[in-house]
């Protein structure tokens, strides 16, 4: 769009001599004549079409009776003149025969006739007139009907109800009114032929007033009733009709029930009203995580915890409840280590009918032949939970991608900013003021940026900036590396320490338990302190664009969290799991579960501390001591990353501790209210622009890609290749957890020889990597095709855009010619072309 020829400033046809002008004029009217001939030919061939089409034209006048005052130039003249390229050229002459009447309007410099033509162009009437909307939707219903092919069309309608170039003629008010009635009839007809759900959707999406929609609906329903009574439908289809109505009512009821379940509706509204969409996206993200955890909790709770709790195993008798209750809540050890919280408590029996029935007294499990194979259920529950979470995540990620990154990537920053930057949710006075100031400065900056030509820094300064960036990255990477090494060696040290304590056996158990908390405390404090350090470094760098700053801060924080988690996973799966005897562990899975519980809890406690010290005390300090008026700004990116970190821990831990999602749910609930209160007390709306939608997409992607994928890889690795502990858990005695399925399939095949194929299928499909490779290959091919399709669409979009630009040129040409003809006919004081066309952009 670089080579824009502006309508106003550009003399399209640069003719100087009147002779030349005449020539052009002649050729123009010749063109019009020819066009008319052609059109007449076409019209004669399809008389029906013409009739329909002329009905489908736009009538701006009567529509405006609703409430929109048309611009004066138009309303002052009751008979509207349209662009009469179509049927009669006489119209051009007729119009310009009365120059005296319109002379007083030429104050606009652009003649009133031209203005009239301009303002009655279809592209301009859609935005304001009811008739245009109706015909547009008439058209759409037609298309929908054709697409659905639900019923054969009863009548033949014109190819397009949208006014084509043929549809223009002179028209009067009365005719216009009739036109509209006609169009409405057609729309009603079309609507009636749609299926119920389509009709509802169509009516709902029409930008008409409710009373008009009501009228339309009544007309449609009346007609439908009429036709129904004519046809005398049999009673069974009447029954069907009633059932459909009842179902629809039920569906509406269900929908409104669901929407009444909308969690924290008012709280979110309050936050959005004060802090805008950016901060709101943090809370919505938190709510999304909560739903993920509720889902996980429901699945594991119903399928694992409840059946296990019903059948009391006899292993929990030798538990001694110790006094250090408070510490046990923190460490998750002691009393908790032999409870439903951890993997080790679950047994590997098949909860049969028969003997477990008498113990539990549960009627449902007593029903004949029902067996509950705990290892298998454990395996499949975790697998299915991960699988469903994966599908939900990928789905929401792709949806969000589709919304936020359109294929058409042409720039339009200023227009977007002006048209869609106002947040209508913001209702607090001071926030409105802030929002205004923000938009004002942003617009000023953007305009200045457009003006500024490629600012050239001197070489030295550029080198200096490069050096600063390098230094900043080196500092960040170096500190991350140092932290990772610290965590690595510290966890190794604590591991050795724990081993010594177990071997010594004489040390204080309280101290031993407290020492378990050391690693989580260190990791959480690293997570708390290093982002602050990164912020300082970023402040030193002085990035120009705030979005760049966001991305860089996110990537640094992410790098830190991912590498720390990687080291921890190595610690658990590499050190603890391979050599559980040295720690005196009977059940290393429970130990890892406890560790994850501790990390989750410590993360929560540090978040509390951060909220208190980082937000509350800092606000008090900066307001009282530094006498600053401003409150700190809520750091969305860092807070969201912390949420993602916590969720990764929860996903990692669900295998070792099926009730960990419950802990996470409690944590998130607390966090929501705490952050809400802290936000209201301590923070103010941010001055930075926040592209909420793109950021949400990025957060969901981060949640999916490193967080969920990492957790899945770890869990799969554990299931696939680590030997579960022999003394506890549902998988005791197996080489790996994966064998539970295999063993079951083989047993099934042994009992029932007909199912032998199942065993071979299992070994082929699941154990053979070829199948996995095949799946991945097909997946990649699909992605490739999809990207090719998108590429093709982009090309088509470019072509269409070019075509629109050409059409714009044509329009400009026609209008300029029209103006010329008027001026020549009028023979009043001649005006320079340039001056006249300048006003056009302001018309």
């Amino acid at each position: 769009m670089d080579g824009r020829v502006s309508f106003d400033a550009d003399p399209v046809i640069d003719f100087e001599s009147p002779a030349d002008e005449d020539g052009v004029h002649d050729s123009f009217s010749q063109l019009i004549q020819e066009q008319c001939h052609d059109l007449h030919d076409v019209i004669e061939m399809t008389p029906l079409d013409l009739e329909e089409d002329s009905r489908g034209q736009i009538t701006p006048q009567p529509i405006l009776a609703r409430n929109r005052p048309l611009r004066q130039e138009v309303t002052s003249d009751s008979s509207l003149t349209d662009l009469c390229v179509s049927d009669d050229v006489e119209c051009l002459e007729a119009d310009s025969d009365a120059p005296q009447q319109t002379d007083h309007l030429i104050g606009e410099r652009w003649s009133s006739d031209t203005l009239k033509v301009l303002s009655s162009m279809p592209s301009r009437t859609i935005g304001r007139s009811r008739g245009a909307i109706i015909s547009q939707y008439c058209n759409r219903t037609m298309q929908l009907r054709r697409r659905r092919q639900s019923r054969p069309s009863i009548q033949h309608f014109p190819r397009s109800a949208r006014p084509s170039i043929r549809g223009y003629g002179v028209e009067t008010d009365a005719a216009g009114f009739e036109e509209e009635e006609n169009k409405r009839d057609r729309l009603v007809n079309n609507l009636q032929n749609l299926s119920d759900s389509d009709r509802v959707r169509m009516l709902r999406a029409m930008p008409l007033s409710l009373s008009e929609k009501k009228e339309l609906r009544m007309l449609v329903l009346n007609k439908a009733e009429h036709s129904v009574s004519q046809n005398q439908i049999p009673c069974c289809s009447q029954l069907k009709y009633y059932i459909i109505i009842a179902l629809r009512h039920g569906w509406y009821g269900w929908l409104s029930f669901l929407s009444s379940l909308q969690l924290w509706q008012t709280a979110l509204k309050c936050v959005g009203g004060r802090f805008g969409t950016g901060v709101l996206s943090y809370f919505i993200f938190l709510r999304t995580l909560l739903f993920f955890n509720v889902f996980l909790f429901l699945v594991t709770g119903l399928l694992l915890v409840v059946p296990q709790a019903i059948t009391h195993p006899d292993q929990d008798q030798n538990i001694t409840v110790r006094s250090s209750w408070g510490l046990e809540v923190l460490t998750g050890a002691g009393y908790f280590s032999h409870s439903l919280l951890y993997y080790g408590y679950y047994n590997n029996q098949t909860l049969q009918t028969g003997h477990s029935c008498s113990a539990s007294g549960n009627g449902t499990s007593c029903s004949s032949g029902l067996s509950y194979n705990m290892p298998l259920v454990y395996f499949f529950t975790i697998g299915a939970a991960f699988f469903i979470t994966c599908i939900i995540l990928v789905y929401s990620m792709s949806k969000s991608f589709g919304q936020s990154f359109r294929i058409d990537k042409s720039k339009g920053l200023l227009a977007i900013k002006v048209f869609s930057s106002w947040d209508f949710k913001v209702i607090k006075k001071s926030s409105v003021r802030l929002q205004r100031a923000n938009i004002g400065t942003q617009l000023k900056e953007l305009v200045a940026e457009v003006n500024r030509q490629e600012q050239k820094f001197p070489v030295l300064q550029r080198l200096f900036r490069l050096f600063i960036h390098m230094l900043a990255w080196i500092m960040c990477l170096g500190s991350t590396l140092a932290c990772v090494l610290a965590v690595y060696y510290f966890s190794e040290h604590m591991h050795g320490d724990l081993r010594n304590r177990t071997q010594a056996a004489s040390s204080d158990p309280l101290l031993k338990e407290a020492s378990l908390l050391a690693v989580p405390v260190v990791v959480s404090s690293i997570n708390l302190l290093l982002p602050g350090f990164f912020n300082v470094v970023a402040w030193m760098e002085k990035y120009d664009s705030p979005s760049m700053l966001n991305y860089i801060s996110i990537s640094r924080n992410l790098l830190l969290k991912v590498s720390v988690l990687g080291v921890l996973c190595y610690h658990w799966l590499g050190r603890v799991a391979t050599d559980p005897q040295s720690l005196g562990l009977e059940c290393w899975e429970s130990f890892v579960g406890q560790e994850l519980y501790r990390f989750l809890l410590m993360d929560f406690i540090f978040m509390l501390l951060d909220t208190f010290f980082g937000e509350f005390l800092w606000r008090v300090f900066s307001q009282k001591a530094l006498k600053r008026k401003r409150k700190p700004v809520f750091d969305i990116a860092r807070n969201v990353l912390e949420l993602i970190y916590g969720q990764t821990l929860a996903w990692l831990g669900v295998l070792f501790s099926p009730l960990l999602p419950a802990v996470q749910i409690i944590k998130l609930l607390f966090l929501f209210y705490m952050k809400k209160v802290s936000l209201k007390m301590n923070c103010q709306a941010s001055g930075k622009p926040w592209r909420a939608c793109q950021m949400t997409t990025i957060f969901i992607t981060l949640l999916c890609f490193p967080a969920f994928l990492g957790a899945t890889v770890c869990v799969t690795y554990t299931m696939w290749s680590i030997t579960p502990s022999a003394g506890c858990g549902p998988f005791r005695g197996l080489k790996n957890m994966f064998q539970a399925g295999k063993r079951w399939v083989h047993r099934l095949a042994a009992v029932n020889p007909d199912l032998h194929w199942l065993a071979s299928a299992h070994s082929y499909l699941v154990e053979n990597p070829l199948f996995l490779f095949l799946c991945a290959g097909i997946f990649l091919i699909m992605i490739y095709f999809h990207s090719q399709v998108v590429d093709g669409q982009r090309k088509i979009i470019e072509l269409l855009q070019e075509q629109i630009e050409n059409e714009g040129e044509d329009k400009k040409f026609l209008i300029t010619r029209l103006q010329h003809i008027h001026e020549r006919k009028r023979r009043v004081t001649p005006r320079p072309v340039k001056g006249a066309s300048e006003a056009c952009s302001y018309s």
Partner: protein, 188 residues
């Protein structure tokens, strides 16, 4: 419409549900709020609520486009921006969560089209920018900046180069801005 009885008839309620993007609860809530507005109206009882009273709602009170919103959604013959209950529902429906991008952008276009002529021309854009930035001197754009800004906006969005932004061009711009749907919302 609707104000005389304190409760909405059931069939009307389901009709409203079918024709708007609102849920049952939202319609009932809107009805309650509208009845309160009607009660506060002094003077003889009418089915419409004057613009002044509508603008006392906290959701609209400090919105810079509040008057335009009322004018766009009002079906009054007097063109005074007063709203009937159905107009009020229309308003809430367009600003609701589940309304489509298309209907939202349509009404946004009409709200921004200050002179109701069906296109956004330079004057509309100027008014729009002024409403966005406020009229105080420190936030307001200078004349030169305004001219620059408007010519840039037209350059970016006016595809057919006729000097104004029409509805389709407006919707084209809006469709590239994913945040619009989430920010063009008013929650009761």
């Amino acid at each position: 419409m609707g104000g005389t009885s304190s409760k909405l008839p059931k069939d009307l309620l389901s009709e409203y549900q079918e024709l708007t993007f609102l849920t049952k609860q939202e319609i009932l809530m809107a009805h309650k709020i509208f009845s309160e507005l009607q009660d506060r109206e002094n003077g003889p009882y009418s089915s419409r609520v004057s613009m002044e009273k509508v603008l006392t709602l906290p959701e609209l009170k400090s919105n810079p486009f509040r008057k335009r919103i009322c004018h766009v959604f009002s079906t009054s013959d007097m063109k005074d921006g007063s709203l009937s209950f159905e107009d009020f529902l229309d308003l809430l429906s367009a600003f609701s969560d589940s309304a489509t991008l298309e209907i939202k952008s349509h009404y946004a276009f009409r709200i921004f089209d200050f002179d109701d002529d069906g296109t956004l021309d330079a004057r509309d854009l100027e008014k729009l920018v002024n409403s966005l930035t406020g009229e105080t001197d420190d936030t307001r754009l200078t004349a030169e900046e305004m001219r620059q800004l408007i010519s840039n906006i037209l350059e970016e969005s006016d595809i057919d180069k006729d000097g104004t932004v029409n509805l389709s061009e407006f919707q084209h711009v809006i469709s590239r801005s994913p945040d619009f749907v989430s920010s063009f919302k008013i929650v009761l």
